[in-house]
């Protein structure tokens, strides 16, 4: 099977700091891949190169057989990448419905339309409602996103990314800062997207229970380097990973 995403020897330097050094990764369609690593491992930097937040200093990124190393971020979205951020990025003064509607209209190719017909409008509304049902937000559709709980804001951000109908969903620490119940709900949502919707997902996560529960494969970064890659079982017994997490002395 051809890979949906391939990162080849990506390196990112910020001045003299090498945030990510020669990391390669290949994600197959339908796979749920987790990226883990201690703080400062370069996980988010790596993510930002994939989603086009900035370009790698060297190396290349291939999405669905197409080199996108220098493709601007918004075009990567059009090609099929949707992402969320470690710190939730939403439209706080708009309602949940309005937030997801903007995504949906862009995905439907309406972003430059100075008008929208009744049929198209209804079609958009149905899509928004489907996305809200999928993410469990339908009851909160008319609430301002800025007034929702942290967990619901994260869900709303995932809903916005989903409304883009991505082929690859990039989630940057979807359960960051959440309590038990919220973590469980987001985990269930990600599992449904993976199992039921057959979505290819790449996620960064800190919560080990979440990862070992969800991931098909795990990539471990440490101080900008690729430390290990494998199934959850392989990673759990990997000595290099254990020493990175428990300290070099161990």
């Amino acid at each position: 099977m051809t890979n949906l995403l391939e990162v080849r020897g990506a390196t990112k330097r910020f001045g003299s700091l090498v945030a990510v050094r020669d990391v390669s990764l290949a994600v197959q369609p339908g796979e749920l891949r987790a990226i883990i690593g201690p703080n400062g491992a370069g996980k988010t930097t790596f993510f930002n190169m994939i989603s086009g937040f900035f370009r790698p200093t060297s190396g290349s990124i291939v999405f669905d057989g197409r080199d996108i190393t220098s493709t601007p971020a918004y075009q990567r979205v059009v090609l099929g990448m949707g992402r969320t951020f470690q710190i939730t990025e939403i439209f706080p003064e708009l309602t949940v419905f309005e937030n997801v509607r903007i995504s949906t209209e862009v995905a439907d190719g309406y972003r430059l339309r100075p008008w929208i017909g009744r049929a198209a409008k209804d079609h958009v509304r149905r899509q928004v409602e489907e996305t809200l049902t999928l993410t469990g937000l339908q009851a909160k559709a008319q609430r301002l996103v800025g007034e929702l709980s942290h967990g619901d804001q994260r869900a709303a951000e995932i809903a916005m990314a989903l409304a883009l109908r991505p082929r690859l969903l990039l989630l940057d620490e979807p359960t960051a800062g959440m309590g038990e119940q919220e973590t469980y709900e987001i985990t269930q949502l990600v599992r449904r997207l993976h199992k039921d919707s057959k979505l290819t997902i790449l996620l960064i996560e800190h919560d080990m229970r979440v990862i070992f529960h969800l991931a098909d494969r795990i990539t471990v970064l440490d101080q900008g380097n690729l430390l290990a890659e494998g199934t959850p079982q392989e990673i759990a017994i990997n000595e290099a990973v254990q020493s990175a997490y428990l300290g070099k002395a161990a």
Binding site: Y74, Q75, F85, I102, E105, V106, R111, L112, P114, I116
Partner: protein, 319 residues
């Protein structure tokens, strides 16, 4: 609940249009005069054009008077050198300012925040000095004179908008209604919603697949067309185009009107313009330092009603 919110919106709209449509009749008893109403409409449209960018895209242009002034000169040139036709003058003014805005906007749209504001001022001042210095064409410091708006001809019927102040008011009202209608229509469209997305969170907008710079350029260009249309109307109001209409202090006045009335409200800038124009009309007959009083009132509004007057009024009525 949703129905009642819609009803309230409709009632509000109806009130605005009735008040505007009857203005020549209620202004006189209150000590106003029709020409004052005409000025409010035109400057209100200009402030709404600035706010199209400021309030709905979140981008502050401090040089929008340039496109207002270009619209005025465009209308003046057309009446003076092309043909004695009011509609032609409006079209020429709108094209001159709008096309200039599109061209410069392409250079400006990548800048953000303070840099955007500074670059817009700089370009605006370029036009001001051109109008000021190029006396043989623009009339220089004296402004462009010796043209006047022309009566409208509809087949055999003629409407005298030059001599009849009320007829001219209604002509301007129709023009402003058209422009405001188009503006409102755009803001309720998918494109309009991408503008609001950019205002709310530019990073999120980009990662939803919106090419932000291009959308800001489009919003800037549209706002310049509206602005130039208002400028062309202003030339008809005064039968005169003034280089000071291009100056950045004029841009500042428009921003002030928008902020006083309420940037997040569609109609806010019109209210702001009404307050500004009435204050100017009244205070300037009392003191030459009228601007310092306007300044004090502006500061008070910003301090106590940061959402602007219309923002406060609507909040009260919803509560």
């Amino acid at each position: 609940m949703i129905v009642s919110a819609d009803n309230r919106k409709l009632a509000g709209l109806a009130t605005i249009w009735i008040v505007l449509a009857l203005a020549p009749y209620w202004m006189a008893p209150l000590g106003g005069y029709t020409a004052l109403g005409t000025r409010i409409l035109v400057l209100g449209l200009a402030a709404m054009s600035v706010n199209f960018l400021l309030g709905f895209t979140g981008v502050l242009s401090f040089g929008h008077a340039a496109y207002f002034g270009l619209g005025a000169y465009g209308a003046g040139f057309a009446l003076k050198f092309l043909a004695p036709s009011t509609p032609l003058a409006l079209v020429c003014g709108m094209l001159l300012g709008g096309i200039a805005g599109a061209a410069l906007g392409a250079l400006i749209a990548r800048r953000r925040g303070v840099y955007f504001a500074m670059v817009t001022i700089a370009f605006g001042q370029v036009f001001y000095y051109i109008a000021f210095q190029w006396s043989s064409v623009t009339g220089g410091d004296d402004g462009l004179r010796n043209f006047s708006r022309q009566p409208l001809h509809f087949g055999s019927a003629t409407i005298d908008i030059l001599g009849n102040a009320n007829a001219f008011y209604y002509f301007v009202l129709v023009c402003v209604a058209l422009a405001v209608g188009v503006m409102g229509f755009i803001l309720r469209s998918p494109f309009g919603r991408t503008m609001i997305a950019i205002r709310e969170n530019e990073r999120r907008a980009r990662f939803l697949g919106i090419p932000v710079d291009r959308h800001i350029w489009l919003a800037f260009t549209l706002s310049c067309f509206f602005m130039a249309f208002a400028g062309a109307l202003y030339a008809l109001v005064n039968n005169f185009a003034d280089p000071r209409g291009l100056h950045y202090s004029q841009s500042g006045d428009f921003v002030m009107m928008a902020v006083m009335g309420g940037m997040r409200r569609f109609w806010g800038p019109l209210l702001g313009a009404a307050i500004f124009v009435v204050l100017q009309d009244y205070l300037s007959s009392v003191t030459v330092n009228w601007m310092s009083f306007v300044g004090v009132i502006f500061i008070a509004i910003v301090l106590f009603f940061p959402r602007g007057l219309l923002g406060v009024l609507q909040r009260r009525s919803e509560a």
